[in-house]
């Protein structure tokens, strides 16, 4: 078990290093001169050169990367050009809003998706299965920003049950959560359905049913636990993705989260902030992956012992 954990962590670290390299390269391709951002467009060349030297931008690339990585490891992601604040503190101040949204959305999508998947698998091949398949495909095909806008119009404008965007308390959380959760629910229900169907075909389930166990009991006590495993992996990956900020939903609902922050950073060509948010997102995805892997290893002894699944 310990070996497995260490391997997964090492892998995560490796991925993070690769990510930081790519992020760093992106920053250099973006056509914005930091010195101009600091000193203004009309500064004379000597001022620009001085700022270049001060920011260390005249050093060779690998040295710049090494310094960046070193600072990043100490939690310093630089200073934003536009906001004149520490990148790390800006990101951390916007993170709670995204975290709340992400966790609620994940919970709701699992709450909706798992029963849908179970129902579809229980009535496999018959009408409810087909209906649920179409429903989940419809959910997955809906553009998130459109769904959000429609919900905003209906819920905030016509019914007036919910505020028109912004993060102002529990009622403002409802619409964005539903928007985010519906698509994922459709996706999860498909995954669960397929793995449940496969699990129900296994010999041990047939034996149980041959011994008189009802379909639903067989599903609940035997098949479900095994079918949940792929779902755990995917949900873990998704959590990382959700936490890194769902730009579209946050834009529609004016949610003060990281996704929106990243979008503003890109629009303003605020390079340190862009790099910071991308790196932060990647770190969250890696963490989510790791959490899913560990959960999986805990649930499934075969994984931690390195045997065939």
């Amino acid at each position: 078990m310990l070996a497995y954990i260490i391997r997964r962590i090492a892998f995560g670290a490796f991925v993070l290093v690769g990510t930081s390299l790519i992020t760093f390269c992106i920053a250099f391709v973006i056509p914005a001169d930091p010195a101009v951002a600091v000193a203004g467009a009309k500064a004379d060349p000597r001022t620009l050169a001085a700022i270049h030297h001060e920011l260390g931008l005249d050093q060779p690339l690998y040295i710049q990367y090494a310094r960046y990585a070193d600072r990043a490891l100490h939690g310093d992601l630089g200073r934003s050009y536009i906001r004149r604040e520490n990148v790390t503190s800006v990101i951390l101040s916007r993170f709670p809003a995204t975290a709340i949204l992400a966790l609620s959305a994940l919970a709701l999508s699992l709450l909706l998706g798992i029963p849908m998947g179970m129902l579809a698998a229980a009535w496999r091949g018959r009408a409810p299965d087909h209906l649920l398949l179409v429903v989940s495909l419809a959910l997955v095909s809906t553009p998130v920003f459109w769904l959000g806008t429609i919900l905003l119009i209906v819920g905030g404008l016509y019914l007036r049950w919910f505020p028109l965007g912004g993060f102002s308390g529990p009622s403002s959380l409802v619409l964005p959560t539903i928007t985010l959760a519906l698509g994922s629910a459709g996706y999860y229900s498909r995954i669960l359905h397929t793995s449940l169907a496969a699990a129900m075909d296994q010999d041990y389930v047939r034996t149980a049913r041959g011994k008189g166990l009802s379909t639903s009991a067989a599903m609940r006590r035997h098949a479900l636990a095994n079918a949940m495993l792929p779902l755990v992996t995917i949900a873990g990956l998704d959590l990382g993705g959700l936490l890194s900020g769902v730009v579209l939903t946050e834009t529609v609902f004016n949610w003060p989260g990281i996704g929106r922050l990243a979008f503003e950073a890109i629009f303003n060509l605020d390079i340190p902030l862009i790099m910071g948010t991308v790196l932060f997102s990647a770190a969250l995805v890696v963490a989510g992956n790791l959490a899913a892997d560990l959960l999986l290893a805990w649930l499934d002894p075969r994984i931690r012992l390195g045997r065939e699944t």
């Binding site: 419809a138 095909s141 920003f145 769904l147 404008l157 890109i266 991308v278 990647a282 995805v285």
Partner: protein, 267 residues
């Protein structure tokens, strides 16, 4: 189910192809005197007019052209990159596989939409940049699936036999592995198109899609948000169009899967 999907996709292609004949008005020029105030649906303008006096129906019809072009072309880019990497990793195995898969894992970790936004900001919004950008961020899933398939195919008897007969790798891939992976690749292409369509719509919504005045469904929704109090229909119809297109490809793809009985590898 795939028939329904096929019909939807076909109808979309028809609309895109015959846009000039189908659209009642010019999508780019103002045809109604409603500048500044979107007009409600009426006999002359079945879906209303937008804030610049342009007919919404015509814009949606012409928007089909852009969406379909971007969706299919971006998918082609995605497939090229993904299939190449997947085949190489699955066929050659060993070190090649490890390196390619590590690289894929790193790309998977980077948030796709953020990357796409960053790339577009660098390359300036335009048809080509959108295609390349969407292709660059979407290939990882295809690569994984194709790699798994290539891995299993490479170990099958007919490939082993051909290799024993002295066939060079290029011939093995072209004549034996790839043709057998084609059904999978086709399905992934169809499902992939639904993904690229959504990604393109999202980028357009954020203002990074094909630049105006070319009608783009995502951008139409974004423009509509300013008027959602007075003219909610502006946001509804383009979204329905996107939904229709994406659903069509999804139904088609999943219909194939159900028909052929493939397992859950396509997540």
């Amino acid at each position: 189910m795939e028939t329904a999907g096929a019909l939807m996709v076909l109808s979309l292609a028809m609309v895109a192809l015959f846009a000039p004949e189908l659209a009642p008005h010019d999508p780019v020029r103002a045809v109604a005197a409603t500048f500044g105030d979107p007009g409600a649906p009426s006999r002359a303008f079945p879906l209303g007019t937008d804030q610049l006096g342009r007919d919404v129906l015509s814009r949606i019809i012409y928007g089909a052209r852009i969406s379909l072009t971007v969706g299919v072309a971006a998918m082609a880019v995605t497939m090229t990159i993904g299939v190449t990497i997947g085949l190489a990793a699955g066929f050659f195995g060993g070190a090649v596989d490890s390196i390619l898969m590590r690289f894929t894992d790193v790309m998977l970790t980077l948030p796709a939409l953020l990357l796409a936004m960053a790339f577009v900001a660098v390359l300036q919004p335009g048809l080509w940049s959108i295609l390349i950008v969407i292709g660059l961020v979407s290939w990882t899933q295809i690569a994984r699936v194709v790699r798994a398939e290539a891995l299993s195919l490479t170990q099958r008897d007919f490939v082993v036999a051909a290799r024993a007969l002295g066939a060079p790798p290029a011939r093995l891939i072209a004549r034996h592995v790839m043709p057998n992976a084609m059904p999978l690749i086709v399905v992934m292409a169809v499902l992939g198109t639904s993904g690229t369509l959504l990604l393109d719509a999202g980028l357009s919504f954020l203002g990074l899609g094909v630049p105006p005045p070319t009608p783009s469904w995502g951008r139409m929704i974004e423009e509509a948000t300013t008027y959602f109090r007075t003219a909610p229909w502006l946001a509804i119809y383009p979204g329905l169009a996107i939904f229709y297109a994406v659903l069509g490809f999804n139904l088609l793809g999943y219909g194939f899967i159900r028909r052929r009985g493939h397992s859950a590898d396509f997540q």
